[in-house]
Symmetry: C2
């Protein structure tokens, strides 16, 4: 009998009514003859509320204790979903991360799954129960509770699907699939029928918010087929898989964007080989996510480096940089990152040039650029973000219907 | 270095400000040179809120899943208290029930602690950390999360004090100690300086609500000295210990009472030896707490039995009794239990008679009576409850100052 892993996000389990709706979705899959493992996030805004409680106590909460605190959110959801299923006559059992055998490395706040011992899950499946696993959390070999970082429930679901050799991992969310860009901002956005792991990875990394990048990486490594679909609407979603049939001319597949970006520029850096790695190591040790990094050396005795961070990390970043003498630090907030993604870029030169032209025609200054084989990211003023996305959406013909060979 | 166990109830950790206040209390004990283990309950009304969530899904939530759900409440508290202590410069670590090695029997909703493996707690104490343990919860040998039932955090604290051979267990609560009766209802109520385990046990069992009875039993068995004291006011509380100095004439030490009592009477029971045990076994299997049981056999062919239950268990009780044919079931709700307690009763006959006279003089009908060596319980109309307690408080001279030989 095939195993299906279903993952429901915080919005999907945001109320008692929605949990009952999720229970129906789960039972439908059981009635299809599947063994079902369900991964759920914390209800609605629970995680944010817990973070707020902690922030009332301290600006720098102990990360171990944050994991202790935040992991309760998913534990509430799994218990309620199990009750909802039992109330509908479906046998079910909920398991926390440690009960489900989800072992992680000994890092708090952003741990990676190191191993899943599936024995307990399999035993419950054999009893004919739906197994509900708390997303976002795991346990170290020392019995410490860890969390997987933002969007970690996706990772839990995909990792379980891989470990259980599931047929498929369905990611239920509050949107109906992966879109060419965020439909909340750009009304021309169109749902994609398929997308490749690589493209999804770039979009996920770029803040598209539909899927956690680590989850996509996991899915790609273990070739777990994903479907991103709506927990509310009864329609097919977007399949994420290795090879995607694609129209020739569709070079760009999606546009991702995120606000609350800050650019930090460090000047008068000594040109030795130690300083630059030391700075980024210090930032990493504080858990600060540095995104784009730009350095260009000139003939002067010192050099400069610019990088982008989430604006919420600015204060901590400045604290870290204060410990270096002789450097000048400058920063600019109210920025946004806008990125175009598509596997087709590899064989189509000039995409970057076209992107800059589109932005220039709208009077938008590009403050930073970063490229990979299948994406181009630009940092621009936050107030121009949506206008930039709309212009790029038109220029790269994303509103047109794709011709998928099924 | 001596170990002190401190327990703080839900009201004491009911807000961020109160948690900070608790942190100060903990640090004061550390500054006294003690190793401190802190047990906390869920914040304020958290447990009630979680129960309400479950009730929206089902009237009979799966007990395993209720434990999964409710145990999150204490986990939030321990994490926040650890953060509060760290923010004040005191190293601390929080542990859930399973992390703290609190093993229980495999019963959900009302498990008993079977064993405490103190290794992890001791290791953290040796690192100079305050150890904060989630009250009310434990784990079975199969890794299932259990809860200890209402007031279980008291039991956690006393059991830890016993297992760690602590000097003392301080139970911090929202009252300043153990009173002759509940001061919220009877303004003449007076705080006791000392009370014996046995008296406290009767008062705890009788719904005085200050201490969980199982905790008192544990304390008595392991001779753990308790102090019940206020988490707000800086004053000494009530010491609970084996032998209490006592004035000769103070026969009654306290008056306990509780409302929401229902009397159930089963008539036309066959006079065989099986039916009565079968009924109470069936009730026990459904987790229904039967309190007072009264049976008096007559010469007729059948017999009858009356017992009291919490009104909230009435519906389930009636369901259980429906399965017996030929019996008649009658019930009366809106009742209350009022009990007088005191070790002095053993050597003073006539206390029951005096109690009945006091109630009769107030026109209060006694509907059920139950006695032990050191307590007499009566079931009366709920609307007369406070009047009965006030009259008994005066009659047994409880408002007078006790003469403790210290």
């Amino acid at each position: 009998m095939g195993i299906i892993v279903q993952k429901f996000g915080g919005t999907s389990v945001g109320s008692i009514e929605r949990i009952q709706h999720v229970a129906n979705r789960v039972i439908a899959e059981v009635n299809n003859g599947k063994e079902v493992v369900v991964v759920v996030s914390a209800m609605g805004k629970t995680t944010d509320e817990l973070v707020q409680l902690a922030k009332q106590l301290t600006n720098h909460p102990n990360k171990r204790e944050m994991d202790m605190l935040l992991s309760t959110g998913e534990q509430v959801s799994i218990a309620l979903l199990a009750m909802a299923l039992e109330a509908k006559g479906q046998r079910a059992v909920s398991l926390t991360g440690w009960q489900a055998g989800i072992q992680t490395e000994a890092v708090h706040g952003n741990a990676r799954i190191s191993h899943i011992d599936t024995a307990r899950i399999k035993a419950h499946l054999q009893e004919g129960k739906v197994v509900i696993v708390a997303g976002f959390q795991g346990v170290t070999t020392d019995g410490e509770i860890t969390t997987l970082g933002r969007g970690g429930s996706d990772t839990t679901a995909v990792a379980l699907a891989a470990a259980l050799e599931a047929e498929k991992c369905d990611i239920y969310t509050d949107v109906t699939g992966v879109f060419t860009t965020d439909p909340r901002y750009v009304k021309q956005a169109r749902k994609l029928q398929e997308i490749s792991y690589d493209e999804m990875l770039e979009l996920a990394n770029l803040g598209a918010g539909v899927l956690h990048p680590r989850a996509v990486e996991f899915a790609k490594n273990y070739q777990v087929p994903l479907e991103v679909r709506s927990s509310m609407a009864e329609e097919s979603g977007t399949i994420v898989k290795e090879e995607v049939s694609m129209e020739q001319h569709l070079i760009v597949r999606g546009i991702a964007f995120e606000d609350q970006v800050t650019r930090v520029t460090v000047q008068h850096l000594p040109k030795d080989l130690q300083t630059l790695p030391a700075i980024f190591t210090a930032l990493a040790n504080r858990g600060i996510n540095v995104d784009i990094i730009i350095q260009s050396t000139t003939s002067s005795e010192t050099t400069s480096v610019s990088f982008s961070i989430h604006t919420e990390d600015l204060q901590e970043t400045l604290e870290v940089l204060q410990s270096w003498e002789g450097i000048d630090v400058e920063h600019e907030s109210q920025l946004a990152k806008v990125s175009i993604v598509g596997s087709g870029m590899i064989s189509n030169p000039g995409v970057a040039a076209q992107m800059f032209q589109v932005l220039a025609a709208k009077g938008i200054e590009v403050k930073m650029v970063s490229t990979s084989e299948i994406k181009i990211s630009t940092v621009i003023a936050q107030e121009k973000m949506v206008a930039a996305v709309e212009a790029l959406h038109v220029a790269f013909q994303l509103e047109e219907k794709e011709a998928v060979v099924s």
